[in-house]
């Protein structure tokens, strides 16, 4: 019994694979290997003097308290952003999925923020919450809340979490809505006939059937908070105050670009790469088992 279509010889399959392989090599493996190589070097900004230092960049990295602080920041930031943006988006999607008047308008409006670039999202939030410029910040102050993200680390972290979450809700909403709409109506109607209340219907039928979408979004969201949020952090807080909003990816950016410490920055990106690979592997290995396709 032959199950698969077969090519005779290796030439044609290899030729067909070649474009994809070439792209992966040039745009992924080549830069990644450069980063690994750079992480073993100590080099001045202009690339005039280069010294091979083995693991010194890594040793410095793991002996620096700021790095562990960034690690903790990243953990807090990613748990909050991924958790909040997923749950709020799910709530919105469930609400918008019901047959209500003007549902299309709500859907469209909820998707809009996704079209806003991260840096612009950051600026919007600055305008609202900057201690001296922001309207909402003035409101908070007049309520007697000492709001000052320029000096208070918790305020600053709250601000970047809000901005990053706001930005991601639309994307999650879109996928959740599509997921909800693909759940067969007959299953839900059957549950209604059996007398299941809305909450019970949601947790026992809708949520499990939505799990492939949720799982996909979890992976995508974690990658988003790990890599794509530095534009927001850069515009809103610049990693401050006192490093309170410096996440791992922001540290890679600020050490490498602002500080011209290419070796240290490369070492950080290698560590970050390994962490994200590990995390994604973990998700596929253990969480995916709970997903019903």
């Amino acid at each position: 019994m032959q199950k698969y279509a077969h090519f005779k010889g290796l030439t044609i399959p290899l030729l067909l694979l070649l474009p994809q392989l070439a792209i992966t090599l040039v745009f992924f493996y080549w830069p990644a290997s450069q980063a690994v190589w750079q992480s073993f070097l100590l080099q001045d900004a202009f690339g005039i003097s280069t010294e091979f230092v083995w693991f010194e960049n890594y040793r410095l990295l793991f002996s620096s308290p700021e790095y562990y602080k960034a690690l903790v920041n990243t953990a807090i930031f990613s748990v909050f952003v991924a958790g909040l943006s997923l749950s709020i988006a799910l709530l919105f999607a469930v609400m918008a999925d019901r047959a209500i008047r003007g549902a299309e308008i709500y859907k469209t409006l909820l998707i809009w923020p996704y079209a806003v670039a991260p840096a612009i999202a950051g600026v919007l939030w600055i305008f609202m919450f900057d201690p001296s410029l922001g309207m909402l910040a003035r409101g908070l102050r007049s309520l007697g809340i000492a709001w000052n993200p320029k000096l208070d680390g918790t305020d600053a972290m709250t601000l970047v979490i809000m901005a990053a979450t706001w930005k991601q809700i639309s994307y999650n909403f879109l996928f959740f809505l599509a997921g909800l709409q693909s759940i067969p109506k007959s299953v839900i109607e059957a549950a209604v006939i059996d007398g299941a209340r809305p909450m019970r219907r949601f947790w026992t039928i809708i949520f499990p059937l939505l799990s492939p979408t949720t799982f996909f979004l979890l992976v995508v969201n974690l990658v988003y908070v790990f890599f794509d949020t530095f534009g927001i952090i850069d515009t809103v807080t610049g990693g401050g105050p006192s490093g309170a909003t410096t996440t791992l990816v922001y540290k890679v950016f600020s050490d490498g670009k602002g500080g011209s410490d290419l070796g240290g920055s490369a070492a950080q990106s290698v560590v970050l790469l390994i962490m994200v690979i590990g995390m994604t592997a973990f998700q596929f290995r253990f969480i995916e088992r709970k997903v019903n396709y």
Binding site: D44, G47, L151, G238, S254, G259
Partner: protein, 440 residues
């Protein structure tokens, strides 16, 4: 598709042919970081130079913020196509001068090109920042400023303070801040922009206190930061942290993004760059003035002299002799007395030559506009000492971030002022040691 591509190619070829001038002009690339009115100054200077002669053409390109421009220059050098002239902010001086082969020192450039060049014609307080300890000029000062104390005269009247006798010392500023706070400025009695420039770099020079060994890094990259051991620094940081609690002092961020708090009237006293002038003039809807930075009267020799900020023009290495000749001619053009007078009086940048300063002074210009002379008086207050010539550290961009982080930690009470100062020096020293190894 093929047709389209060919058309495109021929159009491009035609455009290129049309763009190349009939005369073989030598092109000189100048990358800069100035926006708004200051960008116009750069463009106008290039236009005037290009109109003044036929052999060279200066082409300007805006490359983003100061750090962005520096990074663009570095990346271009690594890729082998650096511009001829790169505008680098004063913080990048250490990085640039350590890059042997990547830059061509200005004194060498002028000598090779046979241009008349007298380093003594320039104001020492300005060129000192960009020269070797032997006095050889490494880069050409372009836009220079210093730090002054801007204050809101209307607010002073409201608080019962004399608007014509601004506070001179820090204790007087604290008192004024408290009175202003009581008079309704309850969110911010006084503040500063450029957190570390104000509270470390200028503070050290103005009080004649070294920040590190080796003449603040000017005499070698093996400098070790020592300012954390100085009682004046501890006193100042302790005062700020104390006054931050009830907002007599309020922190306004690491760069100049908080400057709007002065022009909006929120903060009646702000220490920031003299280059803030254009902005104040355009946006402040109240009577304003500026005064020299405050000092602690108990510090011996204070006030000493201030140091400059702003940027200078670096000449990149590995270019043709003919191109260098053009750059040298452009620098001579830039140093011309009348041009400097015009630049200074119109843009508010400091004049870089003595002759230009004397000419403006003689014209009586400062009688109407004393605020433009304040930074010059500060810079020339006394003969610069080893502690007030300027500072030159590698990775200073990153060190400034570290210093800001520690100052923030002291102000929000996470660390004691002494612990914050110690961490600022220790972490700064780590950066310096790493830089020292790469800058051989």
């Amino acid at each position: 598709m093929t047709v389209k591509l060919t058309t495109l190619a021929s159009v491009a070829a035609f455009a290129m042919a049309a763009a190349s001038p009939a005369l073989a002009q030598t092109e000189i690339q100048w990358w800069h970081a100035l926006t708004g009115a200051n960008n116009d100054v750069v463009v106008k200077l290039a236009e005037e130079f290009n109109a003044s002669q036929k052999d060279y053409k200066v082409v300007v390109a805006y490359k983003g913020s100061y750090p962005d421009t520096l990074n663009a220059g570095i990346a271009a050098f690594r890729a082998g196509n650096a511009p001829h002239i790169l505008q680098v902010f004063e913080v990048g001086t250490g990085t640039m001068m350590s890059a042997k082969g990547a830059v061509k020192p200005v004194h060498e450039l002028m000598k090779d090109a046979g241009e008349t060049f007298d380093p003594k014609a320039y104001l020492p307080a300005i060129t000192g920042y960009y020269s070797t300890p032997k006095g050889e000029m490494l880069s050409m000062p372009f836009n220079s400023s210093s730090m002054v104390m801007w204050y809101n005269k209307d607010a002073f009247k409201k608080a019962g303070l004399n608007p014509d006798a601004p506070p001179k010392t820090w204790p007087e500023v604290f008192e004024a801040g408290k009175k202003l706070k009581a008079a309704g400025f309850d969110k911010c009695g006084f503040t500063n922009a450029w957190a570390t420039w104000a509270n470390i770099e200028q503070f050290g020079a103005w009080h004649n206190i070294p920040l590190s060994t080796k003449v603040n890094g000017m005499e070698g990259f093996d400098a070790v930061l020592t300012f954390n051991k100085d009682p004046m620094f501890l006193k100042h940081w302790t005062n700020l942290a104390e006054l931050q609690k009830d907002k007599t002092y309020d922190y306004s961020g690491r760069t100049n993004t908080g400057e709007g708090r002065f022009t909006s009237g929120e903060c009646p006293i702000m220490l920031t760059s003299s280059g803030f002038f254009g902005n104040v003039k355009a946006n402040a809807k109240f009577d304003w003035a500026n005064a020299p930075m405050p000092y602690y009267p108990e510090a011996a020799g204070a006030p000493q002299n201030s140091i400059i900020g702003g940027a200078s023009l670096w000449v990149m290495g590995g270019k043709k002799a003919e191109e260098y000749k053009g750059v040298a001619k452009f620098f001579t053009f830039l140093s011309n007395v009348d041009r400097q007078v015009k630049l200074h009086t119109e843009s508010g940048y400091l004049p870089i030559t003595k002759a230009a300063y004397e000419k403006v002074k003689a014209s009586g210009f400062y009688k109407d506009k004393p605020y433009l002379e304040t930074p010059i008086l500060e810079l020339n207050n006394k003969e610069p000492t080893d502690n007030s010539k300027g500072l030159r550290y590698g990775s200073l961009v990153q060190i400034r971030d570290i210093w800001s982080e520690e100052l923030e930690a002291a102000l929000n009470g996470q660390k004691s002022p002494q612990a914050a100062l110690d961490a600022a020096a220790e972490r700064g020293n780590q950066m310096l040691r790493q830089f020292e190894r790469t800058a051989k």
